[in-house]
């Protein structure tokens, strides 16, 4: 007889955090489109503000629809709690700002989404937080870059745009040996393909704009607390282990134990920085999550067909997908991403910048835009769009060749995707 077991991934994708609405019985997630929530009495109100009562006060701090999403993503990632925020960038900022301040330092993979790189390289230094960027494939480089002021190690499950697979167990070991947490951007993999907390990561975040919502209709982010990191033992995290003047002397580790980080992130970060998610956005992300595994399996299956097609095409110089032949992380991907390495990857068109531009303008099914993780297939040619001011040398320094094309493979009929790519590749070579 099988023993007791936790609810499975697909059941959690549909149900976690969302029993039938207690007020109305609504089976779909109600959108609690309300800025504030009425206090039953003055003492109850004081109790909510003082963290004695559970419930909602004001939708910048928490909202019932957002809470459903937070619980669901926490459940799917194997964490103890989560915060829904305005965007993936807001989630990254919130993670950093909750435990680091002026004079502190981060160690990050140098293969990051451009917006994340900008935040760490140019913006956070204005607030006194420095970052050292290292090769995501080099655990020793992470270790060597750690300083006494380091507060966080950070990387993406699958890097952007080179598809470097982060060896999460190895980097987590480096982090934990130094008494530091590891933060992972799991946007490209989603918890269906990879669960970083199970692999040793301490904090995980998503741009929910991408595969979690899955349909390109919202901007949102979610930050998940794994709950295993011992903020007291490390001695480096006074925001969590010492009294917080901004909350009447509350010491988060003393009173909230494993939930210290996520409690401070909400009580300080959402309250003071204010990058909250709209409840309607949370509803759309919840809708997307209901079909996460089904969509991701189709994304991966289509990607494999597209990768095989491109590998055999004369107009393609190279394909960088972790499952592709010759990719340096192929073995690692098979261990950490056994169900698939996602649906975002890059390849090189023969003929450089001009060929890349001709290619992208002849696509009809793939949409030329700046996003990934839509159910529809997407494409971008950095050299002629996001990075058009850079010459070949500057592009190379950023790890981008002039013919680099980034695809986000959708869930259309795969034959239509390869036909579209084939037409455009032929045109690119004329």
């Amino acid at each position: 007889m099988p023993g007791p077991r936790y609810l499975g991934f697909d059941t959690l994708s549909l149900h976690a955090g969302q029993p039938p609405d207690p007020a109305t019985g609504a089976r779909a997630a109600p959108i609690y489109q309300s800025a504030s929530f009425v206090f039953p009495d003055a003492d109850h109100a004081a109790g909510l503000f003082n963290l004695e009562r559970s419930g909602h006060v004001y939708s910048r701090l928490s909202n019932p629809t957002n809470a459903m999403l937070e619980e669901r993503v926490a459940a799917l990632e194997g964490g103890l709690g989560a915060l829904a925020v305005a965007s993936g960038q807001a989630a990254l900022h919130l993670a950093v700002a909750t435990i680091a301040g002026a004079g502190d330092h981060l160690v990050a993979s140098r293969s990051l989404y451009g917006g994340s790189h900008n935040l760490l390289e140019y913006t956070l230094p204005r607030f006194g937080i420095e970052t050292t960027f290292v090769d995501p494939r080099d655990a020793r480089a992470f270790r060597a870059a750690i300083r006494p002021t380091t507060r966080l190690l950070f990387g993406e499950t699958v890097g952007n745009p080179g598809c470097e697979v982060l060896d999460i167990p190895a980097i987590a070991e480096v982090a934990h040996e130094a008494g530091l947490p590891l933060l992972v951007d799991n946007t490209f993999a989603t918890p269906w393909l990879c669960r970083p907390i199970e692999l040793g990561a301490d904090l995980v975040y998503h741009s929910a704009t991408k595969f979690l919502s899955g349909h390109g209709v919202v901007i949102g982010g979610v930050l998940v607390d794994g709950g295993r990191f011992d903020w007291d033992a490390s001695g480096r995290f006074p925001t969590l282990s010492e009294p917080h003047d901004g909350f009447h002397g509350l010491t988060y580790t003393e009173e909230f134990g494993p939930a210290a980080f996520i409690t401070r992130a909400r009580r300080e970060g959402l309250r003071d920085f204010g990058a909250c998610m709209a409840p309607t956005t949370a509803f759309y992300v919840l809708q997307g999550l209901e079909t996460l595994s089904i969509r991701m399996d189709r994304h991966v299956a289509n990607t494999r067909e597209v990768v095989a097609f491109l590998e055999g095409h004369d107009a393609v110089e190279w394909v960088s997908y972790p499952e592709a032949k010759g990719h340096p992380d192929r073995e690692l991907a098979s261990r950490l991403l056994p169900k698939g390495a996602g649906a975002v990857f890059s390849f090189g068109v023969r003929g450089g910048r001009a060929a890349g531009q001709r290619f992208i303008e002849r696509l009809e099914v793939f949409s030329h835009l700046a996003n990934v993780g839509d159910a529809k297939s997407l494409v971008i040619h950095p050299a002629s769009t996001t990075h058009h001011r850079m010459d070949a040398e500057a592009l190379a320094a950023a790890g981008i060749s002039e013919g680099l094309i980034r695809l986000s493979v959708g869930i259309e009929d795969p034959a239509d995707l390869t036909a579209d790519l084939g037409r455009a590749l032929r045109a690119s070579q004329r």
Binding site: A16, P19, A67, E71, G227, R228, A259
Partner: protein, 263 residues
């Protein structure tokens, strides 16, 4: 708050205010493999309402030095010693699961220390199945999973937690994962061996409140009848759809019951 009992360091949360002997005191005792943090919402309430609140880490749990205590009576004596160390004559004693047996035993054998007892997720006796004891003895991960699976109602496994954004079973699991090897078994073994609960209940002289979960599969509400009958003055609240981890499953209902009882 840090104290010393039997020359060992003891930690208890007091929610920003050191205990004042002039105020009534509510003392909280956690369950097996857990710690003070299960009581935070409740402790903060009582401190704001002009009470002392003391949520202990039993020896070997949370921030208190080990080893864990070997029996329920030893925990009861330790509770009395903690009140001595804190300079408190008597208190409302609130316990969950294993902690409920500790406060029951304390109220019976140290009656002058108990102004009232609140037993949350309780039963007496509190037998523990070998299916849980065996993996706990071997420090196997299975024991933590069973504790989490059985410790929450079926509804709790779906979520809809009233503390925004918290995944209840994930939080419960992370808490018990923090227990040092051997602690869970020591606690479960102490519960399993405690045979004096009904006799002790007959010796209790203070009011008692029982807070039970309708769907508690670890200490089923139906298994509490003898205990309830043995207590001289008792009140009972059965929380609809509630499991064993009532402080996280239904924090507001538990707080309402506590607040009314303590007054």
């Amino acid at each position: 708050m840090e104290l010393r009992i039997d020359d060992r360091r003891v930690f208890a949360a007091t929610y920003g205010r050191e205990p004042d002997p002039g105020r009534p005191t509510v003392l909280f005792v956690h369950g097996a493999a857990m710690d003070r943090t299960v009581w935070t919402l409740f402790g903060r309430y009582f401190v704001r309402h002009e009470h002392n609140a003391i949520a202990v880490d039993l020896p070997g749990h949370g921030r208190s030095e080990g080893p864990p205590l070997e029996s329920i009576p030893a925990m009861a004596d330790w509770v009395a010693a903690l009140l001595d160390a804190a300079g408190i004559d008597s208190a409302f004693l609130v316990g969950h699961s294993m902690g409920s047996l500790a406060v029951l035993d304390a109220a019976a054998r140290h009656p002058e220390r108990a102004r009232g007892i609140v037993l949350v997720g309780t039963s007496a006796p509190m037998p523990v199945t070998d299916a849980l004891l065996d993996p706990a003895r071997a420090n196997e991960r299975l024991a933590l999973d069973l504790l989490t699976l059985w410790g929450h109602s079926a509804r709790a496994h779906v979520g809809g937690f009233s503390v925004p954004g918290m995944w209840m079973t994930g939080g419960g699991l992370r808490l018990v994962e923090r227990a040092a090897p051997g602690v869970l078994f020591a606690d479960l073994d102490a519960c399993n061996r405690y045979a004096d609960g009904i006799e002790r209940a007959r010796a209790v002289r203070c009011p008692a409140l029982l807070v039970l979960g309708e769907r508690d599969s670890m200490t089923p509400a139906r298994a509490v009848r003898d205990l309830e009958a043995a207590l001289p003055v008792s009140r009972r609240l059965v929380i609809r759809h509630g499991g064993h981890q009532l402080m996280s499953e239904r924090p507001n209902q538990v707080l309402d019951a506590l607040a009314e009882f303590v007054g």
